[in-house]
């Protein structure tokens, strides 16, 4: 098992749309399928839309379960606002789509 470092803004144009969310999902999924851990740098990112989060992390939660994703997807270079948004999303997802 190795840790793969990704920079979010190298992968997507922004964090507003489903298209970007799907792109991120595809990239992370590729590494998780190989049994790796993924560390994502959020440097330079703005706010996340719910569509972006649903199509990226929401889809990962659907596929692997939220508990598994929590241990295998790590964030770095983040702002307080990123942390708040992601924490809220993980919490809300667990509330409505617990597995």
């Amino acid at each position: 098992m190795m840790t793969v470092n990704l920079k979010l803004l190298d992968l997507v144009e922004g964090t507003a749309t489903n298209v970007d969310g799907i792109t991120l999902f595809t990239e992370i999924n590729k590494h998780l399928e190989r049994g790796n851990i993924v560390r994502i740098s959020l440097k330079g990112c703005g706010a996340f839309s719910s569509s972006f989060l649903n199509s990226s992390f929401g889809s990962l939660f659907d596929k692997y379960g939220i508990t598994d994703v929590k241990t295998k997807v790590i964030f770095t270079d983040y702002l307080k606002s990123h942390e708040r948004m992601l924490r809220d999303y993980y919490k809300i997802f667990a509330k409505f789509h617990s597995n």
Partner: protein, 296 residues
């Protein structure tokens, strides 16, 4: 065929939308010249602009040429000119240049284009943070724009893709963001979903209220999870702002975390969302990236 559309001078949102709905293309032949008569207009709000733009676009798509006349108020004329409103329906007008002068308080009128969302959001953020809110973050506005854009793309089934404009009112310390589409409407979308699930149709105001509940989704797309409108509401309330929605027969206002809804006797076939953000509550811009690993 020539059609003269004399605008009414009102700040009453319901009255204005009723007027817009009464002038929809329905049953009118294709082609001709539509003249927008501005005689009585003394002030124009963002919610009026976006809904009027949707109406004009509906005619434009049916092959009508658009003209403007009798703009008697210098202030209104200068304002509309500054946001390129008079030129928006000219054949060679580039709608994706996002024109906005530094001294302006309005960030340009824009017809939603899913391929240009990032560019628009970046331009809007840069415009407001550079010209009006130096050192502070307009993140709540960006969240409002993102969530309403995605809501239109996913659910509206609109014949006219949405129009939006955001304007800063310095004396009141608020930003008003309005967005309008001529789709099926939020309440209708909720009731269509209920019908599919063999649930009884509910009144439009109840349906609209349901759409704003966290976790409620009509599953228009696979990725919908019912967080978008709740996220919109949270972003607005975080600044002590307010939200008004007019759709189908429903009207809803959210302010200070209280919801007020009612129904009208007439139907608006579309959705108008009007957001007010209190700019005194905008956070200081955070540039302090943490290098620590973040787990949940």
């Amino acid at each position: 065929m020539n059609l003269n559309l004399k605008l009414i001078d009102t700040r009453d949102k319901k009255r204005w939308i009723k007027f817009i709905e009464s002038k929809r293309v329905k049953g009118i032949s294709r082609g001709g010249q539509l003249t927008i008569d501005l005689t009585s207009i003394r002030f124009i709000y963002p919610f009026q602009l976006v809904s009027l733009a949707c109406l004009i676009e509906e005619y434009y798509k049916q092959g009508w040429e658009i003209e403007f006349s009798n703009c008697d108020s210098t202030d209104v004329c200068e304002y509309l000119d500054s946001i390129s409103f008079f030129r928006y329906w000219e054949r060679n007008f580039d709608r994706n240049l996002f024109r906005a002068l530094n001294k302006q308080t309005a960030f340009c009128l824009w017809q939603l284009d899913s391929s240009r969302i990032h560019s628009y959001l970046e331009a809007a953020k840069s415009f407001f943070e550079r010209n009006h809110f130096e050192g502070r973050s307009v993140e709540p506005l960006i969240i409002c724009l993102m969530e309403t854009f995605n809501n239109i793309i996913d659910h509206s089934e609109s014949c006219v893709f949405g129009y939006t404009i955001s304007q800063f009112f310095p004396k009141n310390h608020i930003i008003r963001m309005s967005i309008c589409d001529l789709g099926i409407g939020i309440s209708q979308s909720v009731n269509n979903f209920r019908k599919l699930n063999n649930d009884p149709v509910i009144p439009d105001d109840d349906a609209l209220m349901a759409a704003f509940q966290q976790g409620f989704t009509t599953k228009s797309s696979q990725h919908n999870k019912g967080f978008g409108l709740d996220n919109l509401k949270s972003a607005i309330l975080s600044t002590g702002g307010s939200l008004e929605v007019l759709t189908n027969q429903a009207f809803m206002k959210i302010e200070n975390n209280t919801h007020r809804t009612n129904c009208s006797q007439w139907t608006f076939n579309g959705t108008l969302i009007d957001v007010v953000l209190d700019t005194t509550q905008l956070d200081v811009k955070d540039l302090d990236y943490s290098p620590e690993d973040l787990y949940f």
